[in-house]
């Protein structure tokens, strides 16, 4: 290990261009790969307020069409109405909390005592929402089950929004005008990242079964199944997602019964969805999600991001080794086996790759946690889309980075190392 660092320092002094370019190229490729990895991981690793992503399932769509017998040829799919969401997702076995919320945030104008009217990313949520998503309170409290059931007009605001409306976060009991209706502020929570697509919001408006906002009315049939509602399920520790899906699938039959008089039926698309499916597998509300093609695509991108720099690094290592042919010959004379030549070169190169990796990962983390433009196309309506630090810097990221370094090292060092091990010792010793 020490010898390998010495060799690196020696190379930096004696072949500065190649050695530095190797180090920088390694750092840059690890940086690039890690930015892509982190962009992907931000969508699936748990971070506040979606600290529960490992146990989170979402029911977000429903799809219905005319039956074979029907003379009509209707086919529709969209978000759920409150009643459909309850039919499918309420009281499932193995679920700890079930929350019905608006699937996405919408911009709504608000006005507080500061007098300024401005728009906030708002989400209608019930009292269970705060049992699933993690929004630390700064002041006040969360919604009560009563407030949610009887649609009492109360709201919870994020810190910055509260300051803007009232000049302070100490605004419990104040009245906030939301789209010209008056609401009572009962809580203030910490600001959160809009990268948490389901859990985020600047303003949380209480909702419940009677909230007219949660139903789109009869757009297709008498039985109203479409609306803006999503069901968020916090699955109990250790419960298999498939067992939840099986129960939900069975409940589709209830909706089918309701739709039967209209000669319509539901189409089941493996709902509810886990975080990876939400992040990479969705193919519209009328198709079954498919994470595998997204996954293959992602692996292809990783492979390209690895192989292209590896080819360059490989040729640079090759020319560094050419300078050391005579050394290799001497080592062989003194009893170094071919295998040992290979493993030593790979190990030596791994040190360089790791150093480059540390630099690249550091740059990547700084970049990913400060440059929110990276995530813009993931969320067009969010304001604060910088991820929490914990989302980009965690053991998982470090583990992946080390793994990436290792693979990059293997594919860039394997050929030069093998070539170096094949040289004839006599010719190597006499090479200059």
């Amino acid at each position: 290990m020490k010898q390998k660092l010495i060799q690196l320092l020696y190379d930096l002094r004696h072949q500065p261009i190649i050695a530095w370019v190797t180090l920088i190229a390694t750092a840059m490729s690890i940086f690039l790969i890690m930015v892509v990895v982190m962009m992907q991981r931000v969508q699936v690793v748990p971070f506040s307020p979606e600290s529960c992503r490992d146990r989170l399932l979402l029911g977000i769509y429903i799809h219905a069409k005319s039956t074979e017998k029907s003379h009509n040829n209707n086919d529709g799919s969209a978000g759920l109405s409150y009643s459909a969401a309850r039919t499918l997702y309420e009281d499932l076995d193995g679920v700890e909390h079930t929350s019905f919320i608006t699937a996405s945030t919408e911009k709504i104008d608000v006005r507080g005592t500061s007098g300024e009217t401005f728009a906030l990313n708002s989400r209608r949520v019930d009292s269970e929402f705060f049992m699933i998503f993690d929004h630390p309170l700064i002041a006040g409290r969360y919604f009560t089950a009563d407030e949610s059931a009887s649609a009492i007009p109360v709201v919870i605001m994020a810190e910055t929004a509260a300051r803007k409306a009232f000049g302070t976060t100490d605004c419990i009991g104040e009245t906030l005008s939301v789209d010209h209706f008056n609401y009572n502020v009962v809580g203030v929570v910490k600001d959160n990242s809009a990268l948490a697509k389901t859990g985020s919001g600047e303003l949380f408006i209480v909702t419940g079964p009677d909230d007219p906002h949660m139903d789109w009315g009869n757009s297709m049939n008498d039985v109203n199944i479409f609306g803006p509602v999503a069901a968020a399920l916090l699955v109990k520790e250790g419960v298999d997602f498939q067992s939840i899906r099986d129960q939900v699938k069975a409940r589709y039959a209830i909706i089918d019964t309701q739709l039967a008089p209209e000669e319509q039926e539901t189409v089941y698309h493996e709902a509810p969805y886990d975080q990876e499916t939400i992040a990479t597998g969705l193919r519209g509300s009328n198709n079954t999600p498919d994470s595998s093609s997204g996954r293959i695509m992602r692996y292809c991108i990783y492979a390209i991001l690895l192989i292209v720099p590896a080819i360059n690094l490989s040729s640079m290592l090759h020319s560094r080794m050419r300078r050391r042919v005579s050394e290799i010959g001497v080592r062989r004379a003194y009893g170094c086996t071919r295998m040992r030549i290979i493993t030593d070169i790979i190990a030596e190169n791994f040190i360089i790759t790791l150093i480059g990796g540390v630099i690249g990962l550091t740059l990547g983390i700084i970049f990913a946690s400060t440059y929110s433009g990276l995530y813009e196309d993931m969320n067009s309506y969010g304001t604060n889309i910088t991820p929490a630090m914990s989302a980009v810097l965690n053991w998982g990221t470090v583990f992946i980075a080390v793994g990436v370094c290792f693979i990059l090292n293997l594919i860039s060092a394997a050929i030069p190392a093998w070539q170096a091990s094949r040289v004839n010792p006599v010719e190597a010793i006499n090479a200059k």
């Binding site: 050394e327 003194y334 009893g335 086996t337 295998m339 006599v426």
Partner: protein, 224 residues
């Protein structure tokens, strides 16, 4: 019983255009503890012979027996281990590893030997450097040493693993006569004190005459 036995050694280098016979029917026995010189004009096959004895190269025909072991059919890793344990090399242009300091260069053969702790290796390196009066240069890089010092370090490297055979290909070829004489007296000391068998290629008639036996080469053949 001889420590090195060559019988019927032929070495032919084939390239596309020409075929060079570097060695032709060489038979040679070297006794344990013998200091042997090989002399002959340039290109007559001396280095080729030394490389074959050192198991760095394979003869086209004939057999090599070292320490009563027939080395013709050993695998690469068996050859490596055999070299590591039994043979030390001294080259005309030293071939120290430029990125390593004196201690690390000398340590090289021990690195490839199993069962030695870092501490044991360091102790053996220190001991050998002390013996060759190079302790004061232990942290220096080869580039900071004179030619004579480099060759002394190279000799330290050759003997640190206690090999029974040391092969030296024109060890004084790159040194002035004073330094050359120092290196020669060192080799004689090792030969006397440790009983190490030494096979040395040289162009220096006076040096050769001080050794136990001279083998003269011409055109790939032993002529005397």
């Amino acid at each position: 019983m001889s420590i090195i036995t060559l019988s019927g050694i032929n070495k032919v280098y084939r390239t596309k255009e020409i075929e060079t016979t570097a060695l032709e029917n060489i038979n040679l026995d070297v006794n344990p503890g013998e200091f042997l010189s090989i002399m002959g004009p340039s290109g007559c096959g001396k280095s080729t012979l030394l490389n074959i004895i050192g198991l760095l190269d394979k003869p086209t025909a004939g057999s090599v027996t070292l320490l009563d072991r027939n080395c013709n059919n050993l695998s690469d890793s068996e050859l490596s281990h055999f070299r590591n344990k039994n043979i030390g090399f001294v080259f005309q242009s030293f071939h120290l590893i430029p990125s390593l300091n004196v201690a690390a260069n000398v340590e090289l053969p021990l690195v490839y030997r199993s069962g030695l702790s870092a501490k044991e290796r360091r102790e053996r390196v220190e001991k050998v450097l002390e013996r060759l009066e190079m302790s004061h240069r232990i942290k220096h890089l080869p580039a900071q040493l004179s030619g004579g010092q480099c060759q002394r370090v190279a000799i330290a490297r050759a003997i640190v693993g206690n090999p029974s055979i040391v092969l030296a290909d024109e060890p004084t070829g790159n040194l002035d006569s004073k330094m050359g004489a120092e290196v020669m007296s060192l080799l004689h000391r090792l030969n006397k004190e440790d009983g190490t068998t030494i096979v040395m290629v040289t162009h220096n008639e006076a040096q050769a005459r001080e050794t136990d036996r001279i083998v003269r080469f011409f055109d790939g053949r032993i002529i005397g």
